[in-house]
C-alpha cells in the first residue's frame, strides 16, 4: 500500500485517508474526510471525491493537504 497525497490520484482511484494537515484540517475531518475514511476520486479537475454516500468538492489548494494510502 503506497502513501501519497490526494492530488496525485487519478479518476476512479480508491484510497484510505491517513491524515489531513493545514488550516482546514478540522473542517475536512468534520466533513467526513478523516483518518480511516475510504474515498473514491469521482473527478480529478476540479477534484470531487466520494466518502460513503457523500460527495465533496475540493479546491486544488486543499488536495495536497490530504494524505492517502492507495487501495485500488
Amino acid at each position: 500500500m503506497t502513501t501519497t497525497t490526494l492530488d496525485t490520484l487519478g479518476l476512479g482511484a480508491t484510497a484510505t485517508i491517513t491524515g489531513t494537515s493545514g488550516d482546514d484540517a478540522a473542517l475536512l475531518r468534520a466533513m467526513g474526510l478523516r483518518e480511516g475514511a475510504v474515498i473514491t476520486v469521482r473527478r480529478v479537475e476540479p477534484c470531487i471525491v466520494s466518502a460513503g454516500h457523500a460527495r465533496v468538492g475540493l479546491s486544488t489548494v486543499l488536495t495536497p493537504t490530504i494524505e492517502v494510502a492507495v487501495t485500488a
Binding site: 475531518r29 468534520a30 483518518e35 460513503g52 454516500h53 457523500a54 460527495r55
Partner: protein, 642 residues
C-alpha cells in the same frame, strides 16, 4: 454550562414565551431547514442572532418555539456558524436563542458523518432528541437503519423522518415535551480517535448489513457535465440566462401593476386631500416612496424562488464549484456568482442573495462590489447618453453599450481584489463543499423561501428605504419657488418680476441648490450646473437623472417623448455652449456606470453588511472611482478632439 435568558430576546408574545424553545442542530444539507419548514410553515421569520453576524430562522408550532440554527460541520470549528451555535447552546445569545430542547438532525444517508457532530451536541448535557432525517433517501440506497439500536447508543429518542414528505414530523413534535439529557456513555468529543471508534461501533450495530457502495452513475454523468471547466461554464451561463429571462419576463407585469395601484392610490389621495405640505408629503413622499420600494418585490420573489429551486436540485453547489476557479483570482468565492449576476437586474436582491456566501469576509466583499454591476435602472441613462454620443453610428453605439457593462464588471472585480488585499484582508477560504445528491426541488420550500425573503425586504429594508426616500423627496421639493405674480397698476414694486424668467422648481429646491453648490467638484468633468443638479438628484435613483434633465432643460417630464429627449440632447449651457459635448457626455456615461446612485441599495448594504459604515464606504469608494474615471475619460476625449 452556564445559561441565562436575560438579553436579546426578540419574541415578547406571552403565549409564545410559555412554550419551550426547541433548536434544530445539524450539519449543512441534512434537511434541517426543510424540517423547520415542516414544523413551522409560514409562522416563521429570519432574525439575526444577537452579537453575531449569523442569522437563524425562528418560528412557532403548536408545542414549541423553534429555532433553525445555522448548519455547522462541528461545534469545535473556528467558523462564525459554529461559534453562533456554541453561543446559543451556552445560553449567551438571549432567551429567543437559548434552547430548552435540542433536536439533533442526522442525515440517515450519511450517518457516520452526522454522528461526530451528534457526540458534541449530546455532550452539552441538554435535553435532546434525534431526527433521523432523509430516511427515505437512505432506504432507496439500500441502507437499513435500526432506530432503537441507534437510540440506545445516543441515549435519547430517535425518530425517523423525511421532512420533504412530512413523514415522522408529528412523532418528532410529540417528543419535545419528554426530551431528556442523554443517558449514554459518550466518548470524549475532543478526542478524535475515541469518537471515531465510538462512531464505528454505532454504525456496526445500527446498520447490521454493510451499506452498498455509492453507485450513482447518473450523478457521475451530471457532475462530469456540470463541473467541466468549459462545458460547466456554458451550462451555468445558460441556466443563469434562463433565470434572468424569467425575471425580466415575469416581473414586469406585477411591477407595472404595483406602479398602477400606487398611482391610483396617489391620484385618489391627491384628489381628496387639501392642497398643502401635508398632501405633498403623503402623495409624493410616502406613497411615491412606498411605490419606489415595493416595486422591487416581484424581482426579489422570483429570484429567490428560482435560486431555492436550483439549490434544492443540487445544481447550485456544482455551479459554485465551477465558478470558484474564475472568481478566486479576484478574492471572491464561487458562490459570489449568484449575487453578481443578479446585480445586473437589480443590486438589492443581489445584495440580499449574498447570504449564499458562507464566509463573512467573502460575503462582505460581494456586498461592497455588487452595485458596480450595471443594473436595469442604469439603462435609461445609457440609452440617453450613448444616443447623444453616437446618434448616427448604431454599431459603435452597441459596442459602447457592451463596453459600459465590461467596465462595470472590471471595476467590481478589481475593487474586490483591492478590498481583499487591504480592508478585508485574509486569504479567501479555499472551497470545500459538499455536493448534495441530485433530487427534484421542493415547491413548498421555494415558496417559503420567497415568503421569508420578501417579508424580510419589506420589514427591514422597506422602513429604512422609505425614510430615506422621503428625505430626498423633501430635499428635491422644498423650498418651492415663489409664485409668479401679475403686475398691477397699483403695485409697482413687483412689475420687474413680470419680465423675469420662470424659476425652475428643481433648481430652486435644496437638492438643486446643493447641485449648484457642488458644481465646482464636477467642473473638471466638463459639466455645468444643470448637469450637476441632474446628477445630484439621481443619487436617489439613477433613472431620476433623465426626468430631472427633462424638467430642467426641456420644460417637461415626459421622458417617453422623443422631442423631450432631443431637447435634452441639444440643450445649451448658460454661456450658450452645447451642454453635451462628446467629452462631457462620455465622462457622464462613465460616471453613471461606476457611481453609487441608489439610496435603497445603500440601505440594504447597511442592513446586510451589519452597519452604515459599510454603506458609507461603498458610497465613498464608488463615487471616488466614478469621479476619477470620468475625469480621465473627459481628458482623453478632450485631447483627442472630442
Amino acid at each position: 454550562m452556564e445559561r441565562s435568558k436575560s438579553c436579546g430576546d426578540a419574541d415578547h408574545n406571552p403565549a409564545n414565551m410559555a412554550r419551550p424553545v426547541v433548536a434544530l442542530v445539524g450539519q449543512p444539507n441534512v434537511g434541517k431547514t426543510t424540517l423547520f419548514n415542516a414544523l413551522c410553515g409560514l409562522r416563521s421569520q429570519t432574525a439575526n442572532i444577537p452579537g453575531t453576524t449569523v442569522d437563524a430562522r425562528t418560528g412557532t408550532c403548536s408545542d414549541a418555539r423553534v429555532i433553525d440554527l445555522p448548519g455547522t460541520w462541528g461545534l469545535d470549528l473556528n467558523q462564525p456558524e459554529a461559534e453562533a451555535v456554541r453561543d446559543c447552546l451556552g445560553g449567551h445569545r438571549g432567551a429567543t436563542f437559548t434552547p430548552d430542547v435540542l433536536v439533533i438532525v442526522l442525515d440517515a444517508a450519511n450517518l457516520a458523518r452526522s454522528l461526530h457532530l451528534a457526540v458534541q451536541v449530546l455532550s452539552s448535557g441538554m435535553p435532546c432528541v434525534a431526527a433521523l432525517n432523509m430516511i427515505d433517501v437512505a432506504q432507496r440506497r439500500g441502507l437499513q437503519i435500526d432506530p432503537s439500536k441507534l437510540a440506545s447508543w445516543l441515549g435519547c429518542e430517535v425518530i425517523p423522518t423525511s421532512a420533504r414528505s412530512r413523514q415522522g414530523v408529528d412523532e418528532l413534535r410529540a417528543t419535545f415535551s419528554r426530551a431528556k439529557e442523554s443517558t449514554a456513555t459518550l466518548p470524549d468529543s475532543t478526542d478524535p480517535s475515541g469518537t471515531s471508534d465510538w462512531v464505528d461501533g454505532v454504525i456496526r450495530e445500527s446498520i447490521p448489513t454493510p451499506p452498498p457502495a455509492d453507485q450513482d452513475r447518473f450523478g457521475d454523468r451530471l457532475d462530469a457535465a456540470f463541473t467541466h471547466p468549459l462545458l460547466g461554464i456554458v451550462i451555468f451561463l445558460a441556466v443563469m440566462g434562463g433565470v434572468f429571462w424569467t425575471i425580466f419576463e415575469f416581473a414586469g407585469i406585477p411591477m407595472d401593476l404595483i406602479e398602477l395601484i400606487f398611482g391610483h392610490v396617489g391620484g385618489w389621495l391627491a384628489a381628496v386631500l387639501p392642497d398643502g405640505a401635508v398632501k405633498d408629503l403623503i402623495v409624493d413622499g410616502i406613497v411615491g416612496g412606498l411605490a419606489g420600494t415595493v416595486v422591487f418585490l416581484p424581482q426579489i420573489l422570483i429570484l429567490f424562488f428560482l435560486i431555492s429551486l436550483l439549490e434544492d436540485t443540487g445544481y447550485l453547489a456544482r455551479a459554485a464549484f465551477v465558478m470558484d476557479r474564475v472568481l478566486r483570482k479576484f478574492g471572491l468565492p464561487g458562490q459570489a456568482f449568484v449575487p453578481m449576476l443578479s446585480a445586473h437586474a437589480c443590486a438589492i436582491p443581489a445584495i440580499m442573495s449574498a447570504r449564499l456566501v458562507p464566509d463573512r469576509r467573502d460575503r462582505l466583499a460581494v456586498i461592497l462590489v455588487a452595485p458596480f454591476l450595471s443594473c436595469a435602472a442604469r439603462l435609461p441613462v445609457y440609452v440617453l447618453l450613448i444616443g447623444i454620443l453616437f446618434a448616427e453610428q448604431p454599431v459603435l453605439a452597441g459596442l459602447v453599450f457592451v463596453g459600459a457593462y465590461v467596465l462595470a464588471i472590471m471595476a467590481a472585480l478589481l475593487s474586490a481584489l483591492l478590498a481583499r488585499r487591504t480592508l478585508i484582508k485574509g486569504a479567501a477560504r479555499p472551497m470545500v463543499l459538499e455536493l448534495p445528491a441530485y433530487q427534484w426541488p421542493s415547491l413548498r420550500s421555494a415558496i417559503l423561501t420567497c415568503w421569508d425573503r420578501g417579508w424580510l425586504f419589506i420589514r427591514k429594508a422597506g422602513t429604512v428605504i422609505l425614510g430615506m426616500v422621503i428625505v430626498l423627496w423633501w430635499l428635491s421639493t422644498y423650498p418651492k419657488p415663489p409664485e409668479p405674480v401679475q403686475a398691477t397698476n397699483t403695485d409697482t414694486s413687483i412689475v420687474a418680476q413680470d419680465d423675469a424668467a420662470p424659476i425652475n422648481p428643481m433648481a430652486w429646491s435644496f437638492a438643486g441648490r446643493i447641485g449648484q453648490g457642488v458644481q465646482p467638484i464636477f467642473e473638471p468633468l466638463g459639466w455645468d450646473w444643470q448637469l450637476s443638479v441632474g446628477v445630484m438628484t439621481s443619487f436617489a435613483a439613477r433613472e431620476v437623472f433623465v426626468s430631472t434633465m427633462a424638467v430642467l432643460v426641456a420644460g417637461g417630464d415626459d421622458t417617453d417623448d422623443p422631442q423631450v429627449l432631443k431637447r435634452i440632447a441639444t440643450a445649451r449651457r448658460d454661456d450658450g455652449q452645447p451642454m453635451f459635448t462628446a467629452a462631457s457626455a462620455a465622462s457622464l456615461l462613465v460616471f453613471f456606470v461606476l457611481a453609487m446612485q441608489c439610496l435603497p441599495t445603500l440601505a440594504v448594504t447597511a442592513r446586510e453588511a451589519g452597519g452604515w459604515k459599510w454603506a458609507a464606504l461603498q458610497f465613498g469608494w464608488m463615487s471616488g472611482v466614478a469621479w476619477f474615471a470620468a475625469w480621465i475619460t473627459w481628458l482623453i476625449v478632450t485631447w483627442s478632439g472630442g
